[in-house]
């Protein structure tokens, strides 16, 4: 009887929540349910699924994760948009969170669950050629090898992925010679060395998973920077923690002040279960992260020698300044072609949505980036390139907006012929990151067909073939067709349907 009253009350509560919930960016978690925790989590934690399954069996506490990047999560918290929508936060690290007091205030308690340091994974042949011993590699030696043209590497985009951010802080701390937490002056001083270091970066990615896949496919990149646990999972890499220091992720499970008492109690039980010796053993064996209880040794193969922990910047201005320097000054610039379907079927609302999504993106382009709009119908209609020039702030963005406004919908859909034009436009990658975004709302109806494109692509030289195509599903586009383009070129498919074209474009930025 009482149980039924409770259930009824919960149902009403669910309705209340549903009608008051604000529509916000990003995926929407479900309504609160007893025994189920809605957790805003780093995407790398997807590998914890079997561990969480076991804990759910043992304790009855289930985790419903919504994955996001660290910076986005902190922003969500700071703006109060996580209040009542999430019961807990579980990021790879709360270091960045701590720099935003308005976000940090939302956290009641945090429990580190496991640890993984930033490391460099190096191909065996490269290791031999460089004559490196695992225990005496420093960031300076890595830098020297890069400068001498003997080492190239891939890493994730620090603005989107925690592993990239931690790698950036490690490199900047070590190469600046800072003896304690980084300051703005350290970053400024180290800029020439950092620029040299990042000239060796050949792969960028919005996620660790795609980075590993791209590394394998490319076959010419010598190393990856990422968390030790990720690198250990990539075959053929020797994992090295540089001896002059690393930044370590400690995966704190954090309860939120806005969550109810019952939910906070469940978070506590989840934390307790995660730190029990049995689960810690399972974590280190399955995920190759390090345990945080003294009674459980790290999984075999995890080197136990001590490493200095590089302090994380203590202020937001330093951390954001470093990110800004990386994106706009230090990393190699991007050259990006947007191949945009403006055939007849795009007329009306679809074209309006495309314009809106592109316009929203203009603030997001980095300094020195070359952005090319290539609208097509029965053939490529126009090729307009804009460079974001720091000397003329706003000019590039204004040009892109102007060209976006001028788009009009007409003609058939020549997907493959247009892609060929994009490859021809980009030529060899040289000292830039090249990529193609393909947005189409239908199937190929004109010009070259899939087989012809495939044969043409196979004939490209290696320097041109490295450019990936990131197709975006939209309207009535053919998923299988776009998936095979992504697979052929080493890109990744994104979903821009259901009003999320802007979200898809934004996510792709991490790969450009």
């Amino acid at each position: 009887m009482r149980a039924r009253v409770l259930a009824g009350a919960l149902a009403v509560l669910t309705l209340l929540t549903a009608c008051t919930a604000r529509r916000a960016d990003g995926p929407e978690p479900g309504a609160p349910r007893p025994g189920t925790l809605r957790v805003l989590a780093s995407s790398e934690l997807a590998d914890m699924a079997p561990v969480l399954e076991r804990i759910a069996g043992d304790t009855g506490v289930r985790v419903e994760p919504v994955y996001t990047g660290t910076l986005d999560a902190v922003q969500l918290l700071a703006e109060g948009r996580a209040d009542g929508r999430y019961d807990a936060l579980w990021l790879s690290s709360n270091d960045y969170l701590r720099l935003r007091p308005e976000a940090a205030r939302k956290v009641v308690s945090e429990t580190p669950v496991m640890a993984s340091p930033v490391a460099i994974g190096v191909r065996a042949a490269t290791l031999d050629a460089l004559g490196w011993k695992r225990d005496d590699v420093t960031w300076s030696r890595i830098e020297r090898a890069v400068r001498d043209g003997r080492l190239t590497y891939g890493m994730t985009d620090p603005s989107r992925s925690n592993s990239g951010f931690a790698a950036l802080v490690s490199v900047a701390s070590a190469l600046s010679g800072a003896q304690s937490a980084l300051t703005g002056r350290d970053v400024a001083q180290a800029t020439p060395r950092l620029r040299e270091f990042f000239a060796g970066q050949r792969l960028t990615s919005g996620s660790s998973g795609w980075l590993a896949a791209a590394y394998k496919r490319r076959g010419t990149v010598d190393a990856l920077l990422n968390y030790e646990s990720v690198l250990k999972g990539v075959p053929g890499l020797t994992v090295i923690r540089p001896r002059d220091g690393v930044v370590t992720a400690d995966y704190p499970l954090s309860s939120l002040a806005s969550a109810g008492a019952a939910a906070r109690e469940d978070v506590r039980r989840l934390a307790e279960a995660l730190r029990s010796p049995g689960v810690q053993r399972m974590i280190t064996e399955r995920t190759l992260r390090r345990p945080v209880v003294a009674s459980v040794p790290p999984a075999p193969g995890l080197d136990r020698a001590r490493r200095r922990e590089l302090p994380f910047p203590g202020s937001r201005s330093v951390a954001d300044g470093l990110l800004d320097a990386y994106e706009n000054k230090l990393r190699r610039p991007s050259r990006t072609v947007y191949v945009l379907d403006t055939s007849g079927s795009m007329r009306g609302e679809r074209l309006a949505r495309l314009k809106k999504a592109l316009t929203a993106l203009t603030g997001d382009f980095r300094e020195r980036e070359e952005v090319t709009l290539m609208p097509f119908g029965s053939a490529v209609k126009r090729v307009r390139s804009h460079v974001v020039d720091p000397a003329r702030p706003g000019a590039g963005a204004a040009g892109i907006r102007r060209d976006t406004e001028a788009l009009d919908a007409r003609g058939d859909t020549a997907i493959y012929t247009s892609l060929q034009a994009a490859y021809d436009h980009l030529g060899a990658a040289g000292d830039t990151f090249t990529s193609i975004v393909l947005m189409t709302d239908g199937e190929n109806t004109a010009g070259a067909d899939a087989a012809q494109f495939r044969a043409w692509y196979a004939g490209l030289d290696a320097e041109r073939r490295v450019t990936p195509v990131f197709p975006v599903l939209f309207g009535d586009s053919d998923r299988a067709e776009l998936e095979s383009i992504a697979a052929l070129t080493g890109g990744r498919l994104f979903d821009g349907r259901e009003d999320s074209l802007g979200g898809a474009f934004e996510e792709i930025r991490g790969y450009q």
Partner: protein, 360 residues
């Protein structure tokens, strides 16, 4: 709409009570229904309250404690409606909470624990060779606070200390890491001890003394970069081998680890020659909370268990019999500095965190 929500909440509250009673019955002790006391505690006491023996001892007196952790200073920002007891790890935040919730009378202080520095073996060895510390036993020693503060003033690095070159992890500025003094008690108490020494062995009280000591405290904090907000987290990182080799924690945290049977081979406990103790202070918000607070101070079994978790019960000589290799049985020879008043300590923490506006 608001009225409907009110009804729903009322129904939910009834449901909540039912659920708690049912859960209580499910967890054994079927004969005695215990009264549930909801407590918010400093994170360093989480393991004590989770221990089955503590649960049993409390149940024997008729109580089940549901404890949730929070930084001691962060408790001020929580809404404690529905809670029975707050148990921050020192007196100053407890007084603030008592004032906020109108709790009158003497606040019970069941146990205390001094601040210590946990060090990895290599770091302790290099500190001792450099005259900054003295090892009284292989795993136990004393940190010379005045000399440490001198080193901090001069931005001394590990590389400048003899013997550090052998150990790749010992590079960069030599510093103790602590929690964020603005939100967490152990970080604030670290500043209390440092300011006492920097002020020539007197408690910082006046504006002039704050101004004089603040620059050094700012240095002690800024060198650390981003700080954690709970003493449990910094100790966890230390144990897992990540993080700085010198960390300020409560003695009780080390004792609890040792009481669990752990004998970490890479842990040396350094007692600062001038330290402060955290007086775990109870703020009873209801009669149930008051009863539990009293039990913690007087119940012999609970006091025994407190020792197991490394807390030193007030008014009783303590011996950490099983862990003397790491811990001092008595605190003789360790100077216990008094803690500045709450407003002064807040101001010191604020200035140390660079909130004076002089630099970001």
């Amino acid at each position: 709409m608001r009225r409907i929500a009110g009804i729903v909440l009322a129904v939910l509250l009834i449901g909540g009570v039912v659920a708690a009673v049912v859960a209580g019955r499910g967890e054994g002790d079927t004969s005695t229904a215990t009264k549930t006391v909801r407590a918010v505690i400093g994170s360093e006491k989480a393991e004590f309250f989770a221990d089955p023996d503590v649960v049993k001892a409390l149940a024997a007196k008729g109580y089940t404690v549901r404890a949730e952790t929070s930084g001691s200073w962060a408790m001020e920002g929580l809404d404690l409606a529905g809670y029975d007891l707050a148990l921050p790890s020192s007196r100053a935040p407890a007084l603030g909470l008592a004032a906020k919730y109108g709790v009158r009378g003497e606040l019970p202080r069941p146990f205390y624990s001094p601040l210590v520095v946990v060090a990895h073996e290599n770091a302790a060895e290099v500190l001792a060779a450099g005259g900054l510390a003295r090892l009284d036993a292989p795993r136990r020693g004393t940190l010379d606070m005045a000399r440490y503060l001198d080193a901090a003033r001069e931005d001394r690095t590990w590389q400048q200390l003899r013997g550090a070159a052998k150990y790749p992890e010992l590079t960069g500025t030599l510093y103790l890491s602590s929690t964020d003094p603005e939100t967490s008690n152990s970080g604030a108490l670290y500043l209390a001890a440092a300011s006492y020494v920097a002020n020539g062995g007197r408690v910082v009280a006046s504006r002039a003394e704050v101004d004089r000591t603040a620059p050094l405290l700012r240095k002690l904090v800024s060198v650390q970069g981003a700080q954690q907000s709970g003493s449990d987290a910094v100790f966890r990182d230390f144990v897992s081998g990540a993080g700085n080799p010198l960390v300020v924690v409560y003695e009780s945290q080390v004792a609890a680890l040792l009481a669990g049977g752990e004998r970490p081979d890479d842990l040396v406990v350094l007692y600062p020659d001038t330290t402060v103790t955290s007086d775990h202070t109870a703020v009873p918000l209801t009669a149930g909370g008051r009863a539990v607070a009293a039990l913690l101070s007087t119940d012999p079994r609970l006091r025994e268990l407190e020792v197991r978790y490394g807390f030193r019960p007030q008014g009783a000589p303590t011996a950490f019999a099983s862990a003397t290799a790491y811990l001092r049985t008595e605190l003789t020879g360790i100077h216990q500095a008094a803690v500045p008043t709450s407003p002064v300590l807040h101001e010191l923490a604020r200035r140390a965190r660079g909130q004076g506006g002089e630099r970001t």
